[in-house]
């Protein structure tokens, strides 16, 4: 299944880092060590909410083997200043408090101190010797509870931004946002069918298998080196520079291989602590999180409460949509309530839409991005409600969506008008798929849902260098979390007209390439791919100049074809084509080293649409769900390396299935997390699933030379409601609270039994 338009793009060669990754040679965050390194460990608050009255570190500092101890005193306070990070925004004042508590501990697991010692055992002993004088305060975990006027207050200064009328008293509601298109209220009055429901979701974790890890080495001259498992080493550099008052050029961050991120590694936790401990001790400091720390103290995805109201005509045309999202931000403001609101109805062309969102703080870890942040939560509610509508109208769920599908020219509720998009094509692909055409097996039921994500572009820098023998190195600055090295090499090979194996992609550290935004936002193949293509085009331009010099002709008279410089026509002269190797051999005489580079801030990232279908059965006695068949369809622009595009769809679908069925953060009455481990935080295992079929719908993105559209995030959005919709059709019971775990399905079935017996 390769792409007939291209020689390399659309093929499935081995990834360049494959041998290292299957032999254990590839080095991830915790695999880096420096001679003489110390081990750093963090002391964390056992309380969900407490004033920190005093911290006495003297006994820890006196313990033999302890070389440095830090608290908030060791980090400068930060201004009230918002900076972007990945697809979310953060406030520096909040970030410095998140990495190390200052006035208050705001969640169980909040760092209050850190030590560096000669061994992990000594470091742990040192933590036990640190005395923290807490004044425990009442805490609040639940969003609805946190919004109440008498709720325990996390931040005295927090006045609701965007409140109408403006807020005069502090609360836990950090922000109110609103999107309007047309007049939903009036449209509801004319709707022939109105469906209204309230939904809820719980916090879930990205679940990356590799815990956070960082190694920092500070020199006496002020230079700092950091190795970090991160989705954005430039981000790490930027944060550490601000949080520690260092110049960015003083910090050199090398990204290690990364064992999963999904958005959760676009922020810093350990790096600033490791740097500070290294500065104080004069030794390298290595820090890793345990799995328990990852759950207690890194940023999960928020849970929230969502109210949806949809009005339609009997022919299926949706005339009005309302949505209210109350979203957990964790201890500091900044939940992805914005994207949640913006994506809620984006799959559809609806004239009247009104969406309101609330960003609410509570005593939980500060949330971080998780694959299409916010969107799975609103999509769970909207797509479930559309399914109820389909059932009430007795319409096929695909037909209902086709009737209302967003198209080129559709204006969204958040103001953007779509260019060429693939919602209709994806719906048609599902409609014509083997899965959808197959009858539903006895005992099973089928659910369908759609999803939308914007995808981003942003900053990328790339370079392309020719070696003395003509082989090409392509350098970029985005950690490879899903096989992007292969895709970048494919695009470079296609552009250059040389074999894929002749192109070596390299990921450079922050000192060795220009600025790059994070690996996230489904942007690398699109934006960094574009930078790589442009750097190769720059290289080709230079190669043509060198050929022109050799042939003593005008550079305009040289063309580049199939990896060779050729005269543009026979009138230019009878010259034998020159390969890159030929040109490289004469580089010194024609002007020196042959390099190309490009840097850009890319816009025009095409949005993505996904439609998923699931067949499942529900054991009515136990509430257990068996997923029998699953298909994920998505408009993917151009599939550069189809295997890795399929992989994004499959991985995202399974994360969504876990979100739907069993994953949740469980807190006890003291505000402590009860399930900080893989045993009771229940992610899907191999035996839970069937094969995940994929349909790659290629609607090329007109703003990219190879039609690339970001694909990574969309796949996690449809599965949650697809599963819920199938469960509704399997049981006759509509679940509205996530996760749809066996006890909850069992309870819902029991509650519905009298009604269903009567029917």
């Amino acid at each position: 299944m390769s792409n007939p338009k291209y020689k390399w793009i659309g093929t499935r060669p081995d990834r360049p880092d494959g041998a290292d990754k299957v032999t254990g040679r590839a080095r991830f965050g915790a695999d880096f060590n420096l001679p003489g390194q110390l081990i750093g460990k963090v002391l964390r608050s056992p309380h969900a909410h407490a004033i920190i009255k005093a911290i006495d570190t003297s006994k820890a500092e006196a313990l033999p083997g302890v070389k440095a101890v830090v608290t908030a005193q060791d980090f400068p306070d930060q201004p009230n200043l918002i900076v972007p990070t990945g697809e979310m925004q953060v406030n520096l004042r909040d970030i410095t408090r998140n990495i190390m508590a200052r006035e208050k501990a705001l969640y169980e697991g909040h760092p209050v101190a850190a030590v560096a010692a000669v061994s992990e055992a000594v470091a742990k002993q040192a933590l036990a010797l640190i005395k923290v004088d807490y004044k425990v305060l009442p805490h609040v975990i639940d969003v609805a509870e946190a919004m109440k006027p008498d709720a325990p207050l996390l931040h005295d200064h927090l006045l609701t931004e965007g409140a109408d009328p403006p807020a005069s008293k502090p609360s836990n509601i950090a922000k109110r946002i609103e999107f309007k298109k047309g007049d939903a209220k009036a449209a509801f009055a004319h709707a022939e069918v109105v469906v209204e429901r309230d939904y809820s979701t719980q916090a879930v974790h990205q679940g990356y298998i590799e815990p956070h890890a960082a190694l920092a080495s500070a020199s006496e001259d002020g230079q700092v080196q950091v190795w970090s498992t991160t989705q954005g080493h430039f981000q790490v550099r930027g944060f550490c520079s601000r949080l520690l008052n260092l110049e960015t050029s003083q910090i050199r961050v090398t990204p290690t291989e990364i064992g999963g991120g999904f958005g959760g590694k676009t922020v810093v936790y350990l790096e600033p602590l490791a740097i500070r401990l290294s500065q104080k001790s004069g030794k390298p400091v290595k820090m890793t999180m345990t799995r328990e720390e990852v759950f207690r103290a890194s940023g999960p995805a928020p849970g929230g409460n969502i109210k949806v109201k949809i009005g339609a005509m009997r022919d299926g045309r949706i005339v009005a949509g309302e949505c209210t999202v109350e979203m957990q931000a964790g201890a500091f403001p900044g939940s992805p309530v914005g994207p949640a609101c913006m994506c809620s109805y984006a799959c559809y062309d609806i004239d009247n839409v009104h969406i309101v969102g609330f960003d609410v703080v509570s005593n939980r870890p500060k949330v971080a991005a998780y694959r299409a942040p916010g969107a799975p939560i609103s999509a769970w509610a909207v797509e479930s409600t559309i399914d109820i509508l389909a059932q009430q109208l007795k319409m096929d769920p695909i037909e209902l969506r086709l009737k209302n599908a967003a198209k080129k020219g559709t204006k969204t509720a958040y103001g953007v008008t779509f260019n060429t998009i693939g919602m209709v094509e994806t719906l048609e692909a599902v409609k014509n798929s083997a899965h959808y055409k197959a009858p539903v097996k006895h005992g099973y039921a089928r659910g369908v849902a759609a999803g939308f994500w914007f995808n981003v572009g942003a900053d990328s820098s790339a370079a392309a260098h020719v070696g003395e023998d003509g082989s090409v190195t392509v350098i970029s600055g985005n950690p490879d979390i899903g096989g992007s090295r292969a895709s970048l090499a494919l695009m470079a090979a296609e552009e250059l007209g040389v074999d894929y194996d002749k192109v070596r992609p390299v990921i450079a550290d922050t000192a060795s390439i220009g600025f790059n935004f994070v690996t996230g936002g489904s942007r690398v193949t699109f934006a960094t791919g574009l930078a790589v293509v442009n750097s190769v085009r720059d290289l080709i331009r230079e190669l043509k100049v060198r050929a022109a010099k050799i042939w003593k002709v005008d550079p305009e008279a040289v063309i580049w074809e199939n990896g060779m410089a050729k005269p543009a026509g026979s009138n230019v002269g009878e010259f034998e084509p020159l390969s890159i190797a030929d040109l490289a051999a004469q580089a010194g005489r024609t002007g020196g080293p042959i390099n190309g580079h490009a840097q850009l801030n890319v816009t025009g990232a095409g949005p993505g649409f996904g439609v998923h279908v699931v067949d499942l059965k529900v054991d009515h006695d136990t509430g257990c769900v068996t997923v029998g068949r699953y298909t994920a369809a998505q408009d993917v622009g151009t599939a550069i390396h189809p295997s890795y595009v399929e992989g994004q769809l499959q991985g995202g679908a399974v994360q969504g299935i876990g979100w739907a069925l069993n994953e949740e953060y469980i807190y006890n009455s003291k505000g402590r997390l009860e399930n900080p481990g893989f045993l009771d935080y229940r992610m899907p295992v191999a035996s839970d699933l069937p094969m995940i079929e994929t349909i790659l719908v290629e609607v090329p993105n007109p703003t990219h030379p190879y039609g690339v559209r970001g694909v990574g995030e969309v796949p996690i959005i449809p599965p949650v409601a697809a599963v819920g919709n199938a469960i509704a059709r399997a049981t006759g019971v509509r679940m509205v609270d996530l996760p749809m775990s066996p006890p909850k399905i069992s309870e819902a079935l029991e509650a519905a039994a009298p009604r269903m017996a009567a029917e």
């Binding site: 136990t622 069925l661 035996s687 066996p742």
Partner: protein, 297 residues
Amino acid sequence: MSEIQYQTAKTVKEAAKFMLAAKGKGYILAGGTDLLVQMKSGLRTPGVIIDVKKIPEMTTVVEKKGSFVIGAATPAAVLGENKKLKKAWPGVIEAANLIGSTQVQGRASMGGNLCNASPAADSVPALVAAGCTVTVQGPKGKRTVPVEKFCAGPGKTTLKPGEIVVSLTLPARPKNSSDAYRRLIPRTEMDIAVVGMGVSLTMKGDTCVAARVGLGAVAPTVLRVDKAEKALVGSKLDDKALDAAAAACSAACKPIDDKRGTIHYRTKIAGVLLKRVALIARDRVKGIEHHMHDQWA
């Protein structure tokens, strides 16, 4: 520098001696799949770790006239490969083979599972249903105890200082007997049982003439539900008998609400499982096999 000591025992008597000498700070290391997790979480802080895996008596299975003496530290994976044991006691084996992942199976033992005394231990309900007796070695010699009397509460056994579990004995079976174990978990693997059910039956034609029922994860210790057994014995395992046995299991539950299940749910599932597992055991007597992986087949 750690203060923890590691010792390898060569005989049962030596292991018991080490335990006594450790003065309450000794921990037996069989598979380590509970002990190491608890050491890491700080739940258990050994002074002395006593490795018993070099003791043949504790790591082998001996068949004697139809009864099986199973070394307490024998890994579950090794038990699963024992064809005779699997044929005689398919329920016990499938229970043992549900303890954790394949990797955990390579190390975890039924003795360890029992001594960890989790109310949700997977092997214990099947052992209760099998009528297993536990052989204990102490400073004063050996003794035996019925498995359903071995645990005292969550995380607590009835072992006295210096005592260790040596082996688990399954009695010789009458003909036309079989057993089965099923548990309810939210996923298909890797979860702690929300309810665990072991049933062992002897049939005479279509009539059940003997039954034992072991119910786990619904009380501080695994229960033997004799009222359920009485409802099954003498019946043809028809709906009426199964309903009565199921109700007896639900009535016997004393579960807690926790992150794995509510009281209401566990009580309900206890009854659901009894019916399913009894029929699987009965079908096995008839030579009809239901594979663990066919969910609720």
